[in-house]
């Protein structure tokens, strides 16, 4: 396929977009830090109610998916299309399992009447309300990113299959990979903030 592509320009554009994402999540992390500083006791009490095992499992899944994403790019670069498709498909699958675990986690909270605006939270201590507000906002926003990542990765999978994305022309896949890794990095910080330090 002949076309004028500017790899460096396209990559820089992707990074510029990633910076806006860093500032978006960074701002929310600051909000978390300020409120943790104000309500340390209530944050700790609420944070210990989260399911560490599920959080740890999800961390492993996302790290593994970052590996499969990076590996799919390297294998496609070497021309191994089938292997690249397998790795790319695994990445999407791992993302979906992550979302399913998140769904289970949120459902358990909902079952205990813990969700934004629920009676339990409105009547409970203020720090707890703030904690769960941040929990649902941050993990929700992150899950939305995982979902969108899965959608774009699936699109890449189809384009690789059709031969529109190849080892010589893989800008789209590389940029999608960058996005997926950033989503992983966001989780690398969310995990200790919500599941470990409290």
């Amino acid at each position: 396929m002949h076309a004028n592509t500017d790899n460096e320009g396209s990559r820089l554009g992707m990074w510029l977009f990633l910076y806006t994402e860093i500032m978006l999540f960074g701002g929310l992390f600051v909000l978390y830090a300020v409120y943790y500083n104000r309500y340390p006791g209530e944050f700790s009490a609420a944070g210990r109610e989260l399911e560490l095992a599920k959080g740890a499992l999800n961390t492993g899944l996302l790290l593994l998916s970052s590996f499969t994403a990076a590996a799919s790019i390297e294998t496609l670069r070497k021309g191994a299309k089938r292997a690249a498709l397998g790795l790319l498909g695994s990445t999407v699958l791992l993302g979906l399992v992550f979302l399913f675990n998140k769904y289970l986690e949120w459902s358990h909270k909902f079952a205990h009447d813990i969700f934004p605006g629920s009676d339990t939270l409105l009547k409970g201590p203020k720090g707890e309300t703030v904690f769960y507000g941040l929990y649902f906002t941050l993990t929700g926003l992150h899950a939305l990113h995982v979902f969108l990542g899965c959608a774009v990765l699936s699109a890449c999978w189809v384009l690789v299959l059709k031969g529109r994305v190849t080892g010589e022309r893989m800008n789209l896949l590389e940029n999608t990979g960058l996005y997926w890794h950033l989503v992983d990095i966001v989780w690398i910080f969310l995990f200790p903030l919500f599941y470990l330090i409290l």
């Binding site: 830090a33 300020v34 790290l63 990095i185 200790p192 470990l196």
Partner: protein, 96 residues
Amino acid sequence: MTEKPAEKTALSITALLGVLAALLFLTGLSIALAHFYTGPLRVAAALSIAAVKTGLVLIFFMHLRQAGKAVALSFLATVVTLAVFIGLTFADTLYR
């Protein structure tokens, strides 16, 4: 436009697996630390491990070092901006 032939981003699958193993090990370390250590450096330790993991992802999965000067400088500018933002926020909220 011709493309530069030798963008040295290629990493072997074995090397990528090594990075994954390191990431998983650091996750385990972080969990173990949170479980057994309750001292004053608890938060700092967890966030430091997260920072190291982030470094691994940036360097080996996102090829930050091979992405060119424009990306390197703009990335640095973003991190510094965020750091200033965090610093100013705490300069305000901690000393009110």
